[in-house]
Symmetry: C2
Subunit: 192 residues, 2 copies
């Protein structure tokens, strides 16, 4: 046991609370590599990569429709602010990434708002930021959603990131399942 | 030999031409790990890290005044543009990074203008972007400058990146050597 006098003052960590959903998660077990309900620490200097490749990604999704590296989330600080903010960048050459109502192509990026719905293939990730004090590291905390979280967030206009010239998608035209797949791809999935 | 019919059409690569200067480079050999006058290819997905740590940095500077990871340069694309742009982020907890006239603290970032003077410790790097077609990779090309390149660039106001609330430094008050060290640090350097 350390003497409490000798230990550095503990700082709270900013936490990205990520609620994930996939319509076929029970059949395809796409989240088998995710550690749910457990805080995991990441250094602010390293981009947090999400994708299919278990070697280069910190968060791996077990699905062939996901790119080897699908996207990254990176911490940064605004000028004259000690708070951590995050930026999301699409690293997939094939797939689009939709952040709330903004469509990102390969290498496009936006700042994550406090609450963001990230969509690609049939995945939905609701990313919510809880501010902390440390600027050295941050936590992630994954939770599983059995129903798609899209309905709640997409019709709240203040939740959109502000791209300079990005494509805005009309939130309320998103279909019930909020899926990005084409009908052909849906059939492919169902056949697996 | 490949048959030329079978080979993919060659794309030109965006090149970051980086002219480096350090007042004591001949004595301290701070650039001994840099490959000068040679194009080197980097994948757009990976941040290009510059610092003292040879393991985690792509570009290593041999000087104890440099942080293990001093800064990163990352490619991205603006919405509706096929061109590569670059962002520079200060990853040093101890040292400031000055990009033209803007001072970056830990985790602050700015978009690199077409021509940027990057300064930290006693280093000066003039970074010039030459546009190419590929969005998969880019090149770097390092050259050594025996005289500091600061004078030429710092008095051209259009060359500044545009931070939202960053600290602007009056370019023309930068001393002759454009060095960032305090007098004490200068003495330390001279004693080595």
């Amino acid at each position: 046991m350390h003497n409490i006098d000798d230990v550095e003052t503990e700082e709270t960590l900013t936490c990205l609370r990520i609620t994930v959903h996939h319509p076929l998660h029970e059949i395809k077990n796409v989240f088998q590599l995710i550690h749910f309900n457990k805080r995991e620490k990441h250094m602010v200097e390293d981009p947090l990569k999400v994708g299919r490749d278990t070697k280069s990604c910190h968060i791996s999704l077990y699905d062939l429709r996901v790119s080897r590296v699908q996207f990254s989330i990176q911490a940064f600080r605004h000028f004259n602010s000690s708070k951590l903010f995050f930026e999301i960048k699409n690293l997939s050459k094939k797939g689009k990434l939709i952040v709330n109502n903004t469509e990102l192509e390969h290498l496009n990026k936006v700042e994550l708002p406090k609450k963001a719905l990230v969509r690609f293939a049939e995945f939905q990730l609701l990313v919510e930021k809880e501010d902390g004090e440390s600027t050295e590291s941050f936590d992630t905390f994954f939770e599983l959603a059995r129903t798609p979280p899209c309905q709640e967030i997409l019709c709240a206009p203040s939740m959109s990131p502000i791209p300079e010239t990005g494509i805005l998608i009309n939130a309320c035209t998103v279909p019930q399942q909020c899926s990005l797949q084409t009908p052909v791809e849906m059939e492919e999935c169902e056949l697996k």
